[in-house]
Symmetry: C2
Subunit: 826 residues, 2 copies
């Protein structure tokens, strides 16, 4: 047993708990009850601290800064490994092949046992890596892609004139004006719509490499310039022209400003490298084959296809065998066997549709976690404590079984597994269940139960018990009968091919399907793109968080065949963070903080000192702490692990300078207000209608445990998503809005999920349309309409298997969702 | 069981071995047999790799470079922590207090429960740290010491004139000449012995801050200068004077050259900071007391004294209790209890004589390892594999018991303990013994036995069995009767106070005593200093490896009262590395490589290409690999852990460029020769007398398993010591040399220790004197004379308890050495 005594981290109420080792332990409880504070904040954090302290005593300084978990003692604590749902994009780029180490093995295979053209010397393993100078294609530097501009991106609206900024790729402000003036001097019309300019002129403006320097007469027309030059008037200045393409490429390559880089990157598009054909390697490396394929092509296969190719080579009759020496054959067999074990584990975790070269930045948090899990299983550690964070997130019930098997493998190898989880099946399968609660924040933090799952049924206070043992179906409702439809045709994206999709307007639709079946491609990508285009605004860029890589999205294709008039606004509520620094928080994001600052500025003390509302912003110099510049924290690089934030040594996390903190409203300083939880704030601000509107929505949506000042960096993806939803809900109701949500119940206890559902239903009742990607069948059962994707994953998916009210799936034998959904429909 | 299959690291012969968990496992075998390759190179390295890979997948890149252990599989392997004997100085400065974390606790104690002067606000813990800007004394910046010059150092020989370079601190070469010429212009005599110059002149030359610029007439006498100036002759140039003190301080503070810094540092001496009196903190921090003492003074107490002070405060009657609030009392009790547990562990490991502020750079490798061991025991990890490297090193048999208890504690807490060890008692107490061998290098690498210790007695091939079960005393010899004595008087150093010491000349003397009793102070410090001074050369500076800190040694005091003429040369053979980069190695250090390079230069191929011997040096541009510049390796920063060397990607570790490698001598390239072990080289060079002399000595001293090119960075302290001894032995024999060795048997199997002893006896037979600090009683029993230090450690030691032939200790009840020694004397 791991014996935890006196745990007080965050909201934990000085709890004692014993956690069995070499078992699967599930931590349950509503959001904010303290599950993570116990599993991650206390047990994992302390194990990590102790072990790092042992192997690297010099790392201790870091813990001095970050602080140690608030707990009296923990005995019997093994070293721990955390597999968390990644928050935000990982800082280091990597591919599926590198994370799983399979790419290393492949390189070894090609180096040692590949088929070399006659007279070509053997290559080292690194020669097969696009990330080494020896291996990388010299044209694309191993990226597989070369970046270039397209006219379509640089001139998004050809009906504009140059004066109206037709050339969007050009710089704005003075420099843009300058370029327009130069064109005038050069005799081009800047008041003709772009599309009406002669093709040669358009080409020259966009693509020329020439950089003529000419006299500029600011504000003159073409004719006036001609006259002025004739009369040898002194020009305003001499200006140098730069073509749009040249400007974009040069700026992208040389600018030091992340903002500039990001701005110009939107005009670039990646095209497959013409030299290596996207395979990223030098010719010498690509000339070596195994099983008849070069390593670049092999890396582009899905795992499923890769297994087939490799299994062929294992057969003695394989063509490769004939030419290979006996030694090569043995080496090849050994490496291939090694690769196959790994790939099979990945397949069993429902990831068979991935390719080795897929960038991890395009994976969902759940996919990435399962990828790491698969790697762990192969890593063969003994006696380690694994702590996981909702591993079922993003998994269809049909995929869950493989996950359970994977966790069992870890356990069987002598490890302990602790899981923070909301999935009821996972709870049932646990060896031990620790229920934390009963509510969030100060209403939680107690251990309600610790023991084998079945014992929980006798615990009256538990919010988990009713769902686990009762039938706890979501409140029954009459289904809405769809009357109007939004019909999309020819939808093409990733694995979707010219699909026709009908979505009921004014209804709640849930999209289901196993992992990789195409749910996100359909909902978060194609639907959003097509509707955005229909509404005439640019779709939010999925990869917009990565400033130094031009967007690689080829826009989805498809069109609205009917019902377009039923959608007048599009709102996507995703799980991306609401900010990346502690400067954003709940209060600032929802706008609630503006009201609070005005209250403070209105106090007698503030007026006496002439403090305006700005003084109470931690983003403004006047009021904030000078050391941390209002962040409240300073960041510490935990090399290898990640960046963590430690409290600011000057203001001790309050963010403000002492003078500002002297001002109070109803007895609390601005810092103390930010420290209130939503629930506490509801009491404190009860007479402030503006503030209360937001607070009550946050509460309704299950976020009452969050502190007003809780920094964006401390919020989970699900919390961020619900905050966005709340911000959306507080706007005065409009009709005909399409809301799109991707797995909003991730991270939610069934009890919280029900509260969220109530809000979604309210939106529909107000005349809007809601489309949700969802895995929780208890939740799907409450929808008006289900669109089930499948039948398989990857190329075996991308189809609509069934579409209709939940009950209508009953008869669909081909739907892998139907059997799970039916359990909630009786 | 940890199941190792197919281990082939270094010389391991594809071995399989099962290692029990939660047990004390000892790895035995002669030097080079493969113990470390198995325990550290395979088991620990693989555990570290797997765990780091799990917690920090991005660290994997590092392992790709370093390479992974050569082993088929290891199952059941827990995460591991290595406690190695530190090689060389640690890269980060730290104190005993920081390594043990006790300083942190003390700061907390003073911050929370200290006694503050009236009206002084409470301080934060960091305010009590000399390493923070808030805490550090402003005069000495928290060092406790300010550096200044002394006349004694700057003018070591006052009988010299200025022309004869009396002012040793001044620059040499042209700039020194310049300063002397300026003094002539200024009218000072540069041909008067320093001590006869007027005091005012001496003071001015050394201490003035003035920097007059005067005409210099190079080579003129004072009078000639006067005349020249009268006649307004053109001077050679204008010169600016700088006082010796100013020169030294300025150069020390500003030079970029490590060499210059080191040169001037020898004229500096540290004196206690006048402001904080060496307590390193600001006044505010020092005004806070606990148990009547400020934190600076408390940190200067030995652990023994610290326990006494703290235990007093625990008593309710303690003065402190009266004024403290109840809350303070509770806080104080809790922190004090925490500190006491730690300190007691340290005491039980024989480290009670250390102080918190002692710098870890002044500790021996063994002391540092035990310090870390004590910290581990408190760290309370479960299920970890600890791998230790000869923890008994530097321990007197009387101290061993505490070590065994500490290892038992680790085991009882659920951990596994693996120890590479030569100590026979440790082997007897092991739960499991793994004997590797039988010989070193290619003669070893097999598992001769794996099981409970008693089973080893049936293993005929084992070199360990005879020592463990037979009586394996070192070969009996007739003791030499001392006839002449070297007598030292008034020896004062660390805890030694005006000691009189008599060392027999022409004999083998061993100095014994528990840890901290003063053996090193006597032998490696005082004896060496006094004899060096007697011989007129400067004692090797103990801290000379640290260029950026002036020597803090106050030279030992003492004088030779008799026998000085019996010592005409002094050789200290210590365990400091023979070099800090892979550029130094066995072959270069012993000079053997020069002969090898000449052989290569003499080949027909070399002469055809006009390659000289220089071409075959990896330190010269012509022949070496350009990528690694002849190092053969590139270094990789394993943040937190240490720097490791990975093979050079271009030359794959051969160090040479391809053209150089084309030249062979007797079929081997220069790189292949460097890869030979000493034993292999003995075959290969059998007809080359010059080379053979060195090789045979290396073999005789038990180093036949080392490769000729083995880099200094891969040698243990003991190996370095024996290489130095071999280099010394190969010089043509001279008489009347005093050899001083500190624990030369560390890291040696008894079988190897016997070979070393044979060499030491040979030196004595040739008319020399050998003094050895030694803990192994089997070895001490073979000496001619024993000097036993004690009776206790620290202030309780520093005395000579007994002195005489080994047998004479029998009757000394006060000697803690006697009972252990007697076991080997029957
Ligand atoms: N970094 C933090 N600092 C302070 N409070 C926190 C932090 N993280 C979480 N909390 C608070 O601790 C309580 C428990 O949160 P958490 O352990 O994350 O709950 P759960 O995992 O059950 O959803 C909540 O009130 C939450 O706001
Ligand atoms: N950015 C992308 N680049 C390449 N392939 C992608 C990308 N996103 C999704 N896919 C592929 O499209 C298919 C459907 O994926 P997705 O729509 O994410 O499925 P789901 O949301 O149902 O898990 C999968 O084969 C997936 O690998
Ligand atoms: N880093 C290294 N590279 C190559 N060979 C090594 C290295 N370290 C040790 N060896 C060789 O491996 C053999 C076993 O050494 P080692 O395991 O250190 O022995 P032991 O610990 O028993 O003294 C010796 O021949 C030694 O020279
Ligand atoms: N560099 C040093 N600075 C301060 N104290 C020292 C130093 N070296 C040794 N001492 C102290 O002198 C005493 C004798 O130490 P030492 O001669 O190293 O003992 P031994 O060699 O017997 O272990 C101990 O109390 C030790 O702490
Ligand atoms: Zn390319
Ligand atoms: Zn601050
Ligand atoms: Zn000072
Ligand atoms: Zn090299």
């Amino acid at each position: 047993m791991i014996r935890v005594r006196g745990a007080r981290e965050h909201n934990l109420r000085n709890v004692d708990v014993d956690i069995p080792r070499e078992a699967l332990v599930v931590f349950s409880g509503v959001s904010g009850s303290g599950k993570s504070s116990l599993a991650f904040g206390t047990v994992f954090a302390e194990a990590q601290r102790r072990f790092l302290d042992s192997v690297a005593p010099y790392a201790r300084r870091l813990f001095d800064q970050i602080g140690v978990p608030d707990v009296d003692t923990i005995d019997g604590l093994p070293p721990a490994v955390a597999l968390r749902q990644q928050r935000g994009t990982p800082s280091v780029r990597s591919s599926v092949g590198s994370v799983t180490t399979i790419s290393n093995l492949l390189r070894l295979l090609y180096s040692r046992a590949g088929h070399y053209p006659a007279r070509q010397p053997r290559l080292h393993a690194e020669d097969f890596s696009p990330n080494t100078p020896q291996g990388a294609c010299s044209r694309c530097h191993g990226l597989g892609t070369v970046y270039d501009v397209t006219e379509e991106f640089m001139v998004p609206d050809a009906s504009l004139t140059i004066r109206e900024r037709a050339v969007a790729a050009w710089p704005t402000a003075w420099q843009g004006q300058n370029l327009r003036d130069i064109l005038v001097t050069l005799g081009h019309s800047i008041d003709t719509p772009w599309r009406e300019l002669p093709k040669r002129t358009r080409q020259w403006i966009l693509y020329t490499d020439d950089q003529p320097t000419v006299p500029v007469f600011a504000g003159f027309s073409s004719d006036e310039v001609l006259a002025a030059r004739k009369r040898k008037l002194e020009p305003s200045y001499m200006g140098t022209f730069i073509g749009a393409r040249k400007y974009v490429l040069k700026t992208f390559a040389t600018t030091q400003s992340a903002l500039m880089k990001k701005r110009v990157s939107q005009f670039l598009t990646g095209v497959r490298c013409p030299l290596c054909k996207g395979r990223r390697l030098k010719k010498a490396a690509l000339s070596v084959t195994f099983a008849g394929k070069d390593i670049g092509s092999l890396s582009q296969l899905s795992f499923k296809a890769l297994v087939e190719v490799l299994e062929q080579t294992a057969r003695p009759s394989a063509g490769h065998g004939e030419r290979a020496s006996a030694e090569n054959r043995i080496v090849a067999e050994r490496i291939v066997a090694d690769i196959l074990v790994r790939v099979v584990t990945l397949q069993s975790l429902g990831l068979g549709y991935l390719t080795l070269e897929r960038s991890t930045t395009t994976l969902s948090a759940g996919e990435l976690q399962r990828l790491r899990l698969a790697t762990q299983i192969r890593s063969n550690l003994f006696g380690v404590l694994y702590v996981l964070d909702e591993p079922t997130a993003g998994l269809h019930p049909a995929d869950n079984q493989a996950l359970f098997a994977a966790l069992d493998d870890l356990k069987a190898a002598g490890n302990s597994v602790c899981v923070v989880e909301h999935d009821l099946e996972m709870m049932e399968r646990a060896d031990w269940l620790i229920d934390v609660g009963p509510d969030g924040g100060t209403g939680g933090g107690r251990i309600l139960y610790s023991g084998p799952p079945e014992g929980l049924q006798h615990i009256a206070a538990s919010r988990t018990a009713p769902y686990l043992f009762g039938h706890g179906a979501a409140p029954a409702r009459r289904r809405r009968e769809p009357t109007r439809w939004l019909e999309l045709r020819d939808v093409t994206r990733n694995t979707l091919r010219r699909l026709t999709v009908r979505i009921p307007l004014g209804a709640l639709t849930m999209v289901t399907g196993i992992s990789g079946s195409g749910k996100s491609s359909l909902v978060s990508q194609a639907l959003v793109d097509v509707v955005a285009e229909h509404l005439g605004h640019v779709a939010p860029d999925v990869q917009s968080d990565v400033p130094d890589e031009p967007s690689m999205r080829t826009p989805s294709r498809g069109r609205i065949a009917a019902g377009g008039d039923g959608v007048r606004r599009l709102v996507t509520v995703d799980q991306r963070p609401i900010g990346r620094t502690p400067r954003s928080n709940l209060a600032t994001y929802t706008g609630l903080f503006d009201h609070v600052r005005h209250l403070f500025a209105g106090t007698r003390a503030a007026r006496a000192k002439r403090y305006t509302a700005g003084r109470f912003s931690f983003n403004m110099k006047a009021g904030r702490c000078a050391t941390c510049e209002g962040e409240g924290s300073v960041h510490v690089e935990l090399i290898f692990l990640s960046t963590v934030y430690a409290p600011c040594p000057t203001c001790h996390g309050t963010r403000y300078n002492p003078a500002t903190l002297l001002v109070t409203w109803n007895g609390k300083s601005i810092a103390e207000v930010l420290a209130l939880t939503v629930a506490e704030a509801v009491q404190f601000f009860e007479h402030e209608a503006n503030i209360m509107r937001t607070l009550l929505l946050l509460q309704a949506i299950g976020l009452d445990y969050l502190r007003l000042g809780q920094p964006a960096t401390e919020l989970s993806g699900g919390e961020a998503q619900r905050i966005k939803l709340a911000s959306e809900l507080q706007r005065s109701a409009r009709r005909d809005t399409l809301y799109v949500l991707d797995e909003p119940t991730t991270g939610l206890h069934p009890y919280d999920a029900d509260r969220l559902l109530t809000q979604l239903q309210r939106l529909v009742d107000q005349g809007n349309t809601v489309v949700v990607v969802e895995h929780d069948m208890r939740v799907v059962a409450t929808s008006d309409w289900v669109i089930d994707m499948g039948p398989g994953a990857g190329d075996a998916g991308g189809q609509i298997v069934a579409s209709g009210p939940p009950e209508s799936l009953r008869l669909r034998a081909d739907s892998r969702t139907a059997p799970y959904l039916m359990q909630w429909l009786d």
